[in-house]
């Protein structure tokens, strides 16, 4: 149970070695969403780790320019999408097959899970990644964004530069493609 005496999440002094409480709060609230997007979009845990670091560092550097016209989540997603697409483009120019070494996939399982759960989650994670890898970048990105319940179709449309109606139509096809490939990856 939360102790009411602890007060709101934004604390008076910067917690845990962060330079400010806003930076700490921004990372605390959004790091999972940004890391997950990078992980599944790039398909490589190490590159996702680097990308997450770079995205948040960019955000911290631009924090004084952030006016709040969009939510912090969509602002971070915009930085992350641009960053990941640049990485992806650069990666495709140099490599053909992504590295899916088992050891690095361990990031996909929560560390407190039981061994069976870790195994199941790891297998599921690989299956999901294999499925996503077969989709186009556009479908993959749309599905990852729509899986975030904090985002509306309008916000997703703004992030990918399309109308919400276009997003709905493409998501319908993306879901069908995902389901078809997911069934084949058993």
């Amino acid at each position: 149970m939360n102790d009411p005496a602890e007060g709101p999440e934004l604390m008076e002094s910067p917690p845990g070695g962060w330079p400010s409480d806003e930076i700490a709060s921004l990372y605390e609230q959004h790091s999972r969403a940004i890391f997950y997007l990078a992980l599944r979009f790039l398909g490589d845990p190490q590159r996702a780790e680097d990308a997450t670091h770079d995205v948040f560092l960019k955000a911290f550097r631009k924090l004084d320019q952030f006016r709040g016209e969009s939510s912090a989540r969509t602002w971070l997603y915009r930085i992350a999408i641009n960053h990941c697409q640049n990485i992806q483009q650069s990666w495709h120019n140099r490599h053909i097959v992504a590295n899916s070494d088992d050891a690095v996939w361990d990031h996909s399982a929560a560390r407190t899970d039981s061994p069976l759960r870790v195994l199941e989650t790891k297998e599921l994670g690989q299956r999901i990644q294999n499925t996503l890898d077969r989709l186009s970048d556009e479908y993959r990105l749309l599905l990852l964004l729509v899986a975030d319940e904090e985002l509306s179709y309008e916000q997703i449309g703004a992030l990918v530069g399309q109308s919400s109606d276009a997003v709905r139509g493409k998501l319908h096809r993306a879901r069908k493609a995902f389901a078809a490939y997911f069934e084949k990856t058993t």
Binding site: W18, S20, I23, S31, S108
Partner: protein, 83 residues
């Protein structure tokens, strides 16, 4: 007919039963996993919730952010809340 009257058959039956139970347990687990995910979004939400953010990222970020100018780490939030 009691099981004790045919111990050999019962042993085989028991073994088969154990195997079926084990197989059934596995199938149930798979079915439960499959039942959990009715859509692509559900699969991805579960996957996202199971994903741990490596603590190394925060450590690296703290080191990187330490070099930022103090004014850069304040946003409109601070003005809004008067902090």
């Amino acid at each position: 007919m009691s099981m004790k009257q045919q111990p050999k058959f019962s042993q085989q039956q028991q073994q088969r039963q154990d195997e079926q139970q084990a197989a059934g347990h596995t199938n149930r687990q798979q079915a439960e996993t499959a039942r959990e995910f009715a859509s692509a979004e559900e699969v991805l939400r579960f996957d996202a919730a199971s994903t741990t953010v490596p603590p190394e990222i925060a450590q690296r970020l703290k080191a990187s952010a330490a070099s930022l100018a103090p004014g850069q780490t304040k946003s409109w939030w601070r003005n809004l809340f008067g902090r």
